[in-house]
């Protein structure tokens, strides 16, 4: 117990990034993620890193682009409207095959929306919020501890496959405090960045060029195909999810991030009332854990996706289940958070045969 500290999600994410070797942070303030840049501004100088508050989100993401191009471990963070502003830069980073980590502590939208927790940026994160053929790897922690544990993975996956990785949280995860332990992270053997990073030739090698402009369509197609081969490897190697009580479940809840905690509470209460309820919790939203659904669909009768949105992840659930079983949806939006009792009510409606 003694090695645990009580920390806000935002602060813990920042500390975990630094412990994962992140030495460059560029950002622009926005609620509810301000504790990330605040913490970075204090800690980065102490570890010899760079913290810079840019003049805008657009500037911040392009600074990330530059630092990533030079081979640095670099991160930015923002919340929904700010992430929208960063989309062009994200596409350029993808197009230049560069690694970085982007944290989105989601708030209610669209527009300026609100500042309370939401999951309404799922489509933007998972389906490509910017232009072009690409995916982001999207990690969705449901506790402060998990956010910390995933941070090293986020940077390692980015470096391993030369892709941007997004950590998708929400205002609740960012603002809440929980006990957290910073474990020794082993990290992975990662490929050298020498072949592409613009670190200076010192007159000894041909220069590396960071670029996302390819006028020759054949060349661009080849690059996109190569990138998608790496996405295939990511799908094979980086899938993460949790299945709880699915073996005997009549109905399986599907939820990610903090909503999965609410769903978990609902599942435990429902079980104590004798309802056979399970839970699938995707941790990687892309790649989406289709295999979990292929397992559960064999035994369960129906699924209920719960989100803090009008229904976004539920589309991936439906695709994974491919019509084999009914998929229901319950969501709250605009900063409202589902309650366990509302979820139980939905479960009872479905199990009672109502549609």
């Amino acid at each position: 117990m003694s090695d645990k500290v009580l920390m806000k999600g935002n602060e813990a994410i920042a500390e975990a990034a630094i412990q994962a070797g992140c030495r460059y942070f560029f950002g622009y303030p926005i609620t509810p993620q301000n504790e990330i840049p605040e913490y970075m501004s204090k800690r980065m100088p102490k570890v010899g890193g760079v913290y810079l508050q840019a003049e805008s989100e657009v500037a911040a993401i392009n600074m990330v682009y530059g630092a990533a191009g030079a081979g640095a471990r670099v991160m930015t963070s923002s919340s929904s409207p700010g992430i929208s502003l960063k989309q062009e830069g994200i596409s350029y980073i993808v197009g230049s095959d560069l690694p970085c980590v982007i944290v989105n502590i989601v708030r209610g939208g669209p527009g300026l929306g609100g500042i309370q927790p939401a999951q309404s940026d799922y489509f933007q994160a998972v389906k490509g919020g910017a232009h072009g053929d690409y995916h982001l790897v999207v990690l969705a922690p449901s506790s402060v501890q998990e956010a910390v544990d995933l941070m090293t993975d986020a940077f390692d996956i980015a470096d391993m496959y030369r892709v941007p990785v997004m950590l998708l949280g929400d205002g609740m995860l960012g603002q809440m405090m929980e006990p957290v332990e910073f474990k020794e992270q082993k990290g992975r053997d990662l490929p050298s960045k020498e072949a592409w990073a613009t670190t200076g030739t010192k007159g000894k090698r041909r220069k590396n060029v960071v670029n996302s402009l390819y006028i020759d369509p054949k060349e661009l197609e080849d690059l996109n195909i190569k990138r998608f081969e790496r996405y295939k490897q990511i799908e094979a190697n980086e899938l993460r999810y949790e299945m709880i009580n699915c073996d005997d479940a009549d109905i399986v809840l599907v939820a990610y991030g903090t909503t999965a905690r609410v769903a978990n509470s609902a599942m435990r209460s429902a079980r104590s009332e004798g309802l056979k309820v399970g839970l699938i919790r995707p941790i990687t939203l892309w790649p989406f854990p289709v295999e979990a659904f292929q397992k559960a669909v064999q035994t369960t009768k129906a699924f209920l996706a719960v989100e803090m949105s009008m229904g976004q992840m539920v589309e991936d659930v439906r695709m994974a289940i491919n019509g084999a079983k009914p998929v229901h949806f319950y969501g709250r939006t605009g900063g409202m958070v589902p309650t366990p009792s509302a979820i139980i009510e939905e479960l009872k409606k479905i199990l009672g045969g109502e549609r």
Partner: protein, 178 residues
């Protein structure tokens, strides 16, 4: 006491509501329990009602949002008005009676009234009503121990404010012995 306490602490911004909630969570953590702490964030922090949700449990915590608290600590009238009806039957409402001019109308809960702000002013530490309320809550419920909360206090008080430790401890004691 049940194995889970869900505490809403509410008052004006500046009364130390967030700090007291953090102290509860930290004490729970040092007691080996599962804990969470969630602040209200947004414009209400400037003068309106600020509140935080602290959960201390023997089981893993699902939602950190409290809908029906087992304990409400109200440091102003708007907080009592807002949360009074949400407290579970059999729960506890702790009221700073120097600032709240009415009693709770609930008959199915335990009401604890203590003139915390007056007591704090009398001891020359007007801002420590929050600690007095916590001390009283611990006396009445025993769900946290005074020894461990003092341990936690040392960790929650930032290093540059360690000189305020003693007065905080005294305020806790004052509430405990009221």
């Amino acid at each position: 006491m049940s194995s889970t306490q869900e505490i809403i602490m509410a008052g004006f911004g500046g009364q130390g509501v967030m700090f007291a909630g953090k102290l509860i969570a930290y004490t729970g953590m040092l007691s080996g329990k599962e804990v969470s702490w969630l602040p209200s964030y947004g414009p209400e922090m400037r003068g309106g009602t600020a509140n935080c949700h602290a959960i201390v449990s023997d089981e893993p915590i699902g939602s950190p949002i409290i809908i029906n608290p087992t304990i409400l600590i109200a440091m102003n009238r708007p907080s009592l008005d807002k949360f009074e009806d949400t407290v579970v039957s059999g729960g506890i409402i702790v009221v700073d009676s120097s600032l709240i001019d009415r009693q709770t109308t609930r008959k199915d809960i335990k009401s604890i009234e203590i003139p915390a702000t007056q007591m704090a002013a009398d001891m020359g530490a007007g801002k420590l009503a929050n600690m007095i309320l916590l001390g009283k809550l611990i006396k009445e419920t025993g769900f946290l121990s005074m020894d461990i909360i003092k341990e936690a206090l040392k960790k929650v008080v930032p290093s540059k404010k360690q000189h305020l430790l003693d007065i905080n401890m005294k305020a806790l004691e004052l509430g405990y012995n009221y």
